[in-house]
Structure formats: structure tokens, C-alpha cells
Symmetry: D3
Subunit: 287 residues, 6 copies
Amino acid sequence: MERSSRAAIILEALPFIRAFSGKTVVVKYGGNAMVDPALTTAVMQDLILMRLVGMQPVVVHGGGPQIDRAMKASGLQPAFVRGLRITDAETMRIVERVLVGEINQEIVALLGRLGGAAMGLSGKDGGLLTAVKAAPALVDGQPVDLGLVGEVAAVEPRPLLTLLQAGYIPVVAPTAGDGAGVTYNINADCVAGEVSGALQAEKLVLLTDTDGILDRAGVLLSTLSRADVERLTADGTISRGMLPKVQACLTALKGGVRKTHIINGTRPHALIEELLTAEGVGTEIVA
Amino acid sequence: MERSSRAAIILEALPFIRAFSGKTVVVKYGGNAMVDPALTTAVMQDLILMRLVGMQPVVVHGGGPQIDRAMKASGLQPAFVRGLRITDAETMRIVERVLVGEINQEIVALLGRLGGAAMGLSGKDGGLLTAVKAAPALVDGQPVDLGLVGEVAAVEPRPLLTLLQAGYIPVVAPTAGDGAGVTYNINADCVAGEVSGALQAEKLVLLTDTDGILDRAGVLLSTLSRADVERLTADGTISRGMLPKVQACLTALKGGVRKTHIINGTRPHALIEELLTAEGVGTEIVA
Amino acid sequence: MERSSRAAIILEALPFIRAFSGKTVVVKYGGNAMVDPALTTAVMQDLILMRLVGMQPVVVHGGGPQIDRAMKASGLQPAFVRGLRITDAETMRIVERVLVGEINQEIVALLGRLGGAAMGLSGKDGGLLTAVKAAPALVDGQPVDLGLVGEVAAVEPRPLLTLLQAGYIPVVAPTAGDGAGVTYNINADCVAGEVSGALQAEKLVLLTDTDGILDRAGVLLSTLSRADVERLTADGTISRGMLPKVQACLTALKGGVRKTHIINGTRPHALIEELLTAEGVGTEIVA
Amino acid sequence: MERSSRAAIILEALPFIRAFSGKTVVVKYGGNAMVDPALTTAVMQDLILMRLVGMQPVVVHGGGPQIDRAMKASGLQPAFVRGLRITDAETMRIVERVLVGEINQEIVALLGRLGGAAMGLSGKDGGLLTAVKAAPALVDGQPVDLGLVGEVAAVEPRPLLTLLQAGYIPVVAPTAGDGAGVTYNINADCVAGEVSGALQAEKLVLLTDTDGILDRAGVLLSTLSRADVERLTADGTISRGMLPKVQACLTALKGGVRKTHIINGTRPHALIEELLTAEGVGTEIVA
Amino acid sequence: MERSSRAAIILEALPFIRAFSGKTVVVKYGGNAMVDPALTTAVMQDLILMRLVGMQPVVVHGGGPQIDRAMKASGLQPAFVRGLRITDAETMRIVERVLVGEINQEIVALLGRLGGAAMGLSGKDGGLLTAVKAAPALVDGQPVDLGLVGEVAAVEPRPLLTLLQAGYIPVVAPTAGDGAGVTYNINADCVAGEVSGALQAEKLVLLTDTDGILDRAGVLLSTLSRADVERLTADGTISRGMLPKVQACLTALKGGVRKTHIINGTRPHALIEELLTAEGVGTEIVA
Amino acid sequence: MERSSRAAIILEALPFIRAFSGKTVVVKYGGNAMVDPALTTAVMQDLILMRLVGMQPVVVHGGGPQIDRAMKASGLQPAFVRGLRITDAETMRIVERVLVGEINQEIVALLGRLGGAAMGLSGKDGGLLTAVKAAPALVDGQPVDLGLVGEVAAVEPRPLLTLLQAGYIPVVAPTAGDGAGVTYNINADCVAGEVSGALQAEKLVLLTDTDGILDRAGVLLSTLSRADVERLTADGTISRGMLPKVQACLTALKGGVRKTHIINGTRPHALIEELLTAEGVGTEIVA
């Protein structure tokens, strides 16, 4: 490719770099997008570039597949209700070990090897998150207790602000204590939504493994308002795994985040495409 | 007890509080001292008091017993050579999960519940520690490969300084990467010695489960010089589990730490006794 | 006494140290409590400990007995109306010399010798206090002019804030100018009440030589509300020397101070007992 | 073009952005490269991007063609000796008016319209440059007085540091006073070399209208050492208009600048090509 | 003259120095007052003294006579409507060259030679001023287009605040862009009025070549209110060249400036007389 | 007097104001110069002006006549040996009361009423001075014990720097403790010399009641070197009361002070004459 074309393409990023300079962008990264090492490396490069061009990225990660594997290795069978993992004490111990002691450390170390400076933390570190037990899920009208599945009762943004100000990329594992010694497993999309609101982030970007929200005909919906989301949820167009993602976006918007995005994290450098080129990708949900 | 006597005792701490105000004290806390919840709570209270009266405590923790348990639960048999755990890849995964994803989080959460503000990190976070593979251990003159057991190649103090300055108690798990994607298990005493040197700490305090270094007659040795330590090591008075502790003290002294202490962490509030009362406890090794 | 008990007692101070960290505490110290050198030393140690554990103590001192002595040495006879010293020009000169040039300097020097860093000031320094002539006292319904007895017309907190921020313990002598060249003698309790309000202090502690406010049966009253104080003043339970102290507490509470205390300064380390142990001493007056 | 390819190209800039983050880069921009508005706009966009990705660009501009035009409009005939403009008082007045009152303002205004924040200054502003009269040029062994042509006697970097720290792109016109009321015209390449040294810049980039330094066969020389430059100057390969540029590079290197570049400013976005892509352009002269 | 009298006179300046310490004073300096070098030097000394005794002077300059000369030298004939210069594109080019590239530089250099530190800027630098085309002037009821004569649409005070904070005296030339590439010539009195309002200046001082506003009998009017000004404008006492000055004062007062002054700049050190002695000079217009 | 002449005279101060901006000037003010209220007011105005035009004045005061009066009022007879007051415990108590509790407060209050912000301190405040007992004076070859007359053993400049930085004029009374509870009376000239050295002051100015150092013929000596001073002391030209002043100047010069001055404080505004006019007054002693 012609060299000067490369320069021209870089130049096209200029207005986007300017617009997001100094702004906080929370990136939820998880699930299947984490399985492919090449993809993972691409996401990490994007995060480092974001930091270098002046953004303040914060990563929130999940870890479903790795937890499933670790549970099976211990002879436990994963079980879900409405997309939430039924979590007994033994499962919780595995969840915390895998999320905090394995996945979080992998991300932090990979960012470090690629030249970034990252610090991992869970909801317990610096009191970032206070959890509360989630309400039972309703299955066929019957309440089903989810065990140690929590919701976010409070966010203390100071640990993240301390790390951002010192130049680190914070990497958040979605576990938290309740202030009384019980540890909870919280949906990572939910954590990302709450954290982005507490940080008054510019954007929340959820990296998933589909192209975004599709209509009934399978066509990508580029931009949705809150009202659109409510209608599409009511008529079932938005369903299952997409429900917590959409809920996270609404939480973020309610908290003051300007824009939220659901994009395909299995597409290399989708983050940069979304943030630094004129063509947005995926679905954007705005207030 | 008479109220005014309480005030008088608190007053006696005044010269010690003054002497250590603003000074960094690295506390290695581990092993059997971690098993009793009441003892653990007492240590955490001591750390919080240290912070409140103006010291800058940094915790480095181990986790031998908990790792043993987790290995056995996974059907693995712990094996040691000269006090160092032979660590294959499967063991390393368990070590990291337990140290970073369980013990570190427990300490951070407990400090939080007791009113402190703590942040956990491993050697990977912020590039705190760079590991290098440890030399083989010599057993009967034969080298035995220890697997993923590492030594500290470099310390980057900035993550700890960032957290201390922001008012947090840093809690360090002794695992680290080598900068090329391999994770190592490092002896926690060793990490404490290196970190205290890199921070130019005032003191390194190793909490263990004996009263300190005893002479052949079983009498506690209160103060030792480096020369004393070399002599006692040569004649076998200092041996086995005490060897890495003594080595950590020498590393710290060489790095510029003013005083190092080996004290009995199973004695409630031994830290406060050592730091804030006239009667020192345990063995002190000085330059 | 058992060493570990000492540590335990120190530990019991932890929640109080935490609660008052960074908070300003104004201590009125005067009169008979100043006569015994051992007691004075004990009070100074308490103040230094307060500073070291993170509080911001400010001392306001009186000096009645010393002024009496100096007046008699000059052939003057002290005279009082309702506890206020009738102050002619010659008396005022003696008052200022003794308060500013003797007692204030003794306190500052003693704090220095005990390891503290103190700076003395009067109401004239940095324009801390502006005085106004006090209204005549009513004796048997007749107004009696008190001469150069003043009241606080205004407090400029900047000199105290400058000294506190630089790490000094400010020591305030209760004399002040009126902005037109006349110097006034102001009751030290009154100065302490006004200064604590202007600093939005956490506490005002008045060290006196009784255990606090007693009811008619001579039993100590631990906690009083403003309404209680008004009732007890009306029925004569609170009278004479206790009146200006109670008035200072009400002034402080009105100015936004959280709690005020009248405690027995002749009891060694009563300040530390009050501030750092669970058992309060003396009488507490709250809003 | 494929969207994801755009993202990939942007990503390739990552290591360069990281390497130059916070570094000062002095850009000499002048002569014929200034004539084409589209080219000028491209250079300005490059400068704004440099600032946004964390570099600290400083612009030094020339203005030969515009000065020629203005002189002719006033009935004066431009005359040069060894590339330096013979400058009498009337010419100097025109030079200063055109450089400071026209070209500098155009650049500042254009940067502003494109979203940058620029501040123009000459050597007189804030005492940035002190000039001294240049030695006569030798023509056929005879000295020829150049009039008000100056050299840089001293650089005061504070005005530039003030503007950089406040977030502005400084734009420097190459005129200066001698401290005694005489104004001098200084070669812009020379100013750029001196300023980059005084700022301890990372790079000096001279935008010219050729591809760099060519050998006798017309082939571009990519990298030259100081020794190479001396040899090529001695044998006449480097001559005429390239001489002051090469001299500016040597001045900069001697002053501590890390790398210097002579690149083709008529090629759109050559600055970005040089700074943010793997393929360097033009000729690089290094220490 | 007696030495001690000199000291006494300096002392008399004390209350004025105190009153204006840290306050911003905008000084409009222009026209005929700029022609005499001795007078110019006197004004510059006054500005440097203002800075040294703690004021924050900002200079706005005009340049009518110099522009007239430059136009004539280029064969153009200056033309005015209601005191505003009809400005076609060729004239505008001359105006900008002379104001920014000649007069501004002279003032900056002279301040520098006298020991001050000054930085010149136009409305384009740092986006200080945004211009908008002025409405046509009415001549005998008929609108006359003034060409490139502008008015101030917006002031961005940050460039001036940056320079003041760094210790420089900002010197402002009254030209500005409209954000779309067109440059305008703005009346310097008007710029001074707008800038003083945007800076919330303490004072605006307009140096002119008369003693101030005179009544019909030719007697100086010392102090005028806004109402007075309106009355005197209506009855024609204030007319012609004084009109834009009076308008600038009203603009400043409306913007929050405390006092405005029209004084005789041809009187040596009139600025110091006005600012630092008890006897005001000229006419003061207050809110 | 002509108004513009006043402005011209103020202007003449410009180079001096510039030269001393930000510089510390220690002023010893004492003895007979303090007796006349009008003179005292003039000195205080000078100090305030010094502060306003950017200098950092520090006052050290004496108080001989007032101490004499107070001693006599207490029935004590002042006695001197070689200009030093023989100071028993009773005398020391009077000295401290009068210097700290009367004269210091008068100066502070007067500065306040004239619009300055002053804070008084003695050598005890903030540990400014540590005293040591002075050696016995030799009278006819016999040592005579001076009692509580001290010399400066150490200066801690932090209290003065804290007050200067906060904008206060520090006013120092020449009494100090020895760190063991004994208070000493120190010659104020000596304190001024030591303090000016510790502050690395620009100037030390001693206000006395003669015009400076006179030669044998009674002619004022304008400038003396250290060598001159030694010669003039050896030959008896400098004698008696001038000896400690000259000694203070030498101490200051040795400590790094640039210039020292002995001037006539009974001449109104002599300080301003010396500092802000071209004609120096009194005798200047330089290194």
C-alpha cells in the first residue's frame, strides 16, 4: 500500500482523537471474545492506543467459558437461570479464583507485555464495588434463588480515578464483597454499566460476539434510543444474552454516560474502528 | 483497669509514633499465622493503626497451607525441595489462583471491613515485579529443577508509591511474570526483602510462627548483626524455614532498609508491640 | 504489666484515632491546671500525641494565677466582677506581658522540648482577633465598667490555618487589639469558643480543675443538651466560674463545632482519655 | 477501502505514538511548501495530530517568496549572497511586516480554524531570541556585508515552554532584536536548529521541497552521520540551498537533539509519514 | 531635591499600590501618543513599574498614523467614515502587517529593552478575539459599507491569562479573524473595552492626546456616571474621536470593570500619576 | 509640588524595585529609633511598602530603653558590660515579658493598623533560634559572667519561611531557649546577622541612631570592605555600640548575605531612601 495513503488514513482519525481526548471509555470485554489469543492481543493493542491518544480506558472483563472449564475440572456442573450462573459457595470460590487470580492477571500481564501499564482490581480492592444479593429469578412465575449472585449496591470511583490519574489502565474483575464478609459474583455487563455511570464516562463499549442488535429480519440496527430499546424488548426482538447488555447500556445512560455501544469483539480492532474512524460499527444506544 | 492507666500506656507510644511517622514498613504475613481468623483480624487491626498514626505499611503475603489444600483438592501432591515448592504448570495455575484470587482478596476485604482502605496487587500489576527462573536447588550435590519457581529480577516501585500516596495499604501476592508470558511463583519472604529495599523502607517485619531466632539452648537472640547471621548460618543454628527469612532480611539491609525483624505473628498484636512499645519482640537483624 | 496488654490498649484507640484524623480540636488550657509542672508536661504530651495521630490541635491558654502574682509584685491588687478582671491601663500592660511574654512562651518552649513544633500568637498576630470593649457588668443592677476587658468582635482564621498546614501547634494568648490601637484582655474560655467556631473545629475541650458540671447532689452530668444547659443555668446549678465555660461551649456549638467538653485538666492525660478511649470523661455539651 | 484495514493502519502508528509521547518536535516549514493552500492545510493537520497524540510540536517558518513579492510591490529588488538575503533597513521593515504580520498570522489562524490552538511569536516576544549581526559573506574571497542579516546569539526557551505547557502550538517567525534596538532577519533553518537545541527537542524536522539529500547519482541518502555530512559537504554533493539546512541539523545535534530530518514538505502528510509510520521518508542526520 | 522628600513621595504611593496589587489594568495606548519616542519610553516604564508593584497590565495598541503612512507609501489614500477606516482587502493587508508586524513588535521589543518581559499577540493568537463584520455606518441616513472593519463577537481570555500568569505583559494588536478565514480591522478602543470586560479588569485606562472630556466651556470633567455620559453624548458635548473611547468605557463598565479612565498620554507618566498618586488625572467614568 | 514630578520620582524607584523583587531583606530596628511614635510609624510604612513592591522583609527588634524602664519600675538597676546587659533570672523574666509581650506586640499591631499583615515570634517559636550561654566578657583582662546572655547556636529558618510564604511580615524578638529549659537574652544585632545568613537574605539593614560609620574626622564612610572593617576596628575608629553592629554585618556576609547596611533610623523613611533611590544612605559593608 502507498505510504502516503497510510498517513492520510491516520489523519482521518484526527477529529475522533480530538473529541475523545481526556474522556473516560469503559470497555466490557468478555466471554467468547477472550478465547482467541490473536483477538485478545488486538483488543489489548486497541486499549493501549486509546490511552496513548489521550483517552482514559477502563476494562471490565467477564470469564464465563474459563469458569465453566474450572468448574468441570472440579467436578461441578455449571447451571444458569436467565443467563445468570447459579452460584453456591464452592462455585463462588472457583469464580473468584478464576476471574481475579487468572483472567484478570492474564489481561494485566498481556497489556504490560504490549507496552501498556495496567493494574488489576476486583470490586473488593479499595472498596470499588459493594454487592448486595440479587433478587431470585422468576422461572415460570416461581422464584429461583441464585445463591451468591450479586448486584451492585454502590460504586466508589476513587480507586479507578487514582489509577487513571497515575497513568494506569484499570482492569476490573466483576466480584465484590457485601461489607459483611460475603463475596458475590456479579454479571460483568452490569458492572460495566454501573462503573461507567459512576465515572461519568463518555462511552460504554460492550464487546460481544455478534455484530450488534439485529431486527427480526436479521438486519443490524445502527442506532437505538431508549424508547426503541423498550419497544424491541417488549416485542422479543431483544432477548436472552442481549438482555443484560442492553440493561447495562440503559444503566449507563441513566448514570450520565453519553453514548453506549454493543459491537463485535471478534472483529479485529473493532474498538478502534468504532472510536477512531468515521464509520461506526455495531449498535449504538443513546439517551 | 484504671482509665488513666490506659491513657498513660497510649502516651508511651508517642516517641515511637513520632519516630516512624511517614516511614514505610513492609510486613510479610503468611503461612500458619494466616490460619486463625482471630489472629488475622488482630494483624489487620495493627496494619490499620500503623496507617492511621502516619506509617506507610505494605503487606506481602504467602499462602502455603491454602495452596496445599487446593492442590490436594485437585488431586495434586505438594512437593518441596529446600523449602521451595516444586511448581509445574498445573501447580502454578493453582498457586496464582489461590494467592491472587483468594488469599489476597481475603486480606483486602478484611482490611476494608475493619475500616482500612487496601488494594491488592501481584507482581504483574503495574509491572511491580519481573521474575526470572530460579536456579536449580542442590540436593545431595545434584541439581533439582524447581519448575516455575522464580526469583526477583527487578522491582518497579511506582505502583506501590501510587497506592501509598493515595492512602491505600498495598497488599502484594508473590507471583510475577518474566516479561515473556511465563508466570512464576516466588517465595514471599524473598519478595518482601526485595520490595522493602526498592521502597527504601524504614523496616521489614517478617511475621512467622516462632518467637524469632533461638540459639542452640533455645534462648531467643534479640539482636543480630549481619556477621552474627553469617556465623549462625554456617554453624547450623539458623536452618531450614528460617533460612529464607534470614536471607530476606539480608537482602533488605543490603537494599538500604534500616532494621529488619523476625517476630511471632501468632502472638496477638505483636506488630504493635514491636513498633509502638519500648519492649521489642522477636529477633532484630541490623546492618 | 503484660506487654501484649499494652498493645491491646493501644489498639483500642484505633477507632478514635480514625474518627478524629485531620480534625481540628481546640483545647482551652488554663488557670490552676497550669501550676503543676508535671501536669503541664502531661497536657503537652497529649497535644503532641494528638498532632502525631493526625489531629490538628489548637491551644488557647489563660493565666489568672500568674497575672495575680505579677500584679502583686508591682503593687497592684487584682479585682474581679463576675469572674472578669477589672483591667486598667497599668493592669493591661501586665496582663499582656505575662500572657504573651511569659506563659505563651513557656508553653511553646515546653512543646518544643518534648518534640512538638509550636508557634505562639496573640489575637494581634496576623489580625487573628479583633476586640471590642465589653459591656459593663451588672452588679446589684448597677453597671460596673470593667476597663480594658474585651469581647471578640471578629476572628480571622488564616494565621491559624497557615500554622496548622505547616505542621505547627498554634498556641493562642487571649489578648487582642481593637484596630485603633487599644489592647484588650479577653476571657480565654470565650476566645476558645469563638476560635473553635471560626475554625469549624470538631471539638472544643475546656480543661478546668473540676470533674465537669455536677448536679445539685454533686453527681457528674455526663451529657447535656443546649436546653439542659439553659435550664441548669436558670435554676443556678451552673454558676460562677462555670458560667463562662458553659457560654464558650454554647458559642462554639452555635458556630458549628460538633461537640464540646468540660473536663478535669488536673487529672493526668485527661485529654487522651477523652479523645482516645471509649470512656468519655467530664461533661459533654452537644447541640 | 475495507474498514478494518483502516483500523489496522491506525494501529501500526501505536509504537511511534508511544515513543514520541511528551517529546518536543521542532518543525521548520517554509518557502515553496507554503505556497499551495492544500499542502499548507495538510501540514497544519499533521501538526494538530502531533499535539493530540501527545507530542509537543513547535513551528518555525520562513517566507522567502512572500517577502520577494512584497519587496517588488514596493519597488525593491531582492538580492542574495550565498542564499542569504541582503537586507537594508527598508527591506528589514518589509521582512518583519511580512513574516510577523502576515505569514505568522496566517499559520496561527489556519491552525485555529482546523481546531488547533496556536500562538505566534517572533524572536522579540518574551525575549525568545537575541540576534547578533552576521559576519560578512565571502564572495570570491571578498567580504560582502549582508546588512541586517543576523545570527542567533542566545535562546530564552521560557516563552516556548510557557505556551507548550498551556497547550498551545508555538509558531515562530525568524526575526529578532539585538537588545539595543536593531532588528535582524535570521535564516529560518538556523532558528529552527538553535531553538530545537535550546528545547532539548527529540527531533528537528525540516520541510523542504526536495526529497532529501541525494548522492551524485540522484539517489536519496536515507541516513547520514555527522561525518558523512562533512564528507559530502567537502566534495560538493551537499551544496547551495541544502547547506543552511544541513548546518541547522548539525547545530541541533550539537545542542542535544536526538535526530534531525530533511523531508519533502510538498508531499501531503509527509510529517505523519515520517513520525507515525514504519517507513521513514527523506534524509535523517544523526549524531 | 532633598533625598528624604523623594522617599516621602514614594511612600505616598503605598495605599495605591496596595489597592491595585494583583489587579488587572487594561491600557489602551495609541495614535498620536505613539509618535514621540520619549513619550513612548515613558509609557513603557510606567507599564513595567505597574507589573513590578504587583499589577497585571495588559496593553492594547492602535496605529492610525503608521497605517496612514504605509498606505500612502503603497499609493493608497486613507479614507474614514465616522472615525472608522474604510478597509478594502489591500488596506487590510497593510493594516495587519503594520499593526502586528511593526507596531506590536516595537512595543514588545521596547518593553524588553527596558527590563520588562512582554509577549505580543493579535486577536488571532490563541483565538483571543473572534471578529464579525461591522454594520454599515450611516452617513446622511445612507448606509456606507466599511469593508473589512470588524466588531468583537467573542473574547477568549485564556491566552492573556496564560501570559499574565507566566509573568509577561501581553501586548494586543486589534486585528482578528472571523473563524472562516477573513481578517478584520477592529477599533483599538473597542478591543480594549471588550478585553477589559472579559478579564474582569479593575480598570480600563485609555491614553489619548487630550486631557479628558471637556465641557462646553472647555473645563475638564473629572468624574462622569453612565447617565452623565449619555446626556453629554446626546447634547453633542461628547463627539467625534471621543465617541469610540466613551463607548469602550461603557462596554467595559457593563462587562464588570470597576473604573474607566480617559487620560492624556502625551503627558509623561500620566499612567503613574493616575494609578499611584492621590491626584487623579483626566476623566473617570464609573458605573 | 508638580504632579508629574511625583510620578517621575516614583518612576526612579523602578530599577530598585525590580532588583529586589522577591528578595529577602532583614531589618534590625531598635533602641532609640523606637521611641518616637512618628518615626516608628514611618519605619512600619516602609516595611509595608517593601512587601507590596515584592520584597520579603523580616524585622528583628531590640528594646533596650523599654527594658531599662521596666527594670527600674521593678526596683532593678540595669548594668552593662561591653554593651551587653548583665542578665540575672529576674532580669531575664522582665526582658522576655517586655520584648515578647510588649514591644513585639506593638510592632505587630502597628503594622496591622497600617494595612500590613505581621506575625510576631521569638526564638522559641517554631524553634527559630537555639541559644547557648555567651562566654564571659573580659573586663581589664578579667572574665565577667553575663548571666543569661546568650549567643545563637542554631537557626531553624522554617518558621520564617512559612510566614513569608503566607504573605506575613515576620517580627522577631531576640530571646531564645537552649533546648533544656533555660531562656537567654541575645543581642538583637547578632540575631539579625544570624537570621539574615540563615535566610540567605539579599540585604541586612541595621537601623541605628547615627548616620553610619564615621572616620576619625567625623566624615561618613559610605562603603567598607571586610578588610576595611578589620582595620578600622583594630585602630579604634569603630568602637563601643558600633562593634556589635559591625559584627552582625560580618556574620551576615559570611553567611552569604550580599550587602549589609548601617543607616540612621531616626531619619524618616531612611529604609526607602536606601532601598528605592539612587542615593544610598549610611554605611554599606560588603564582602
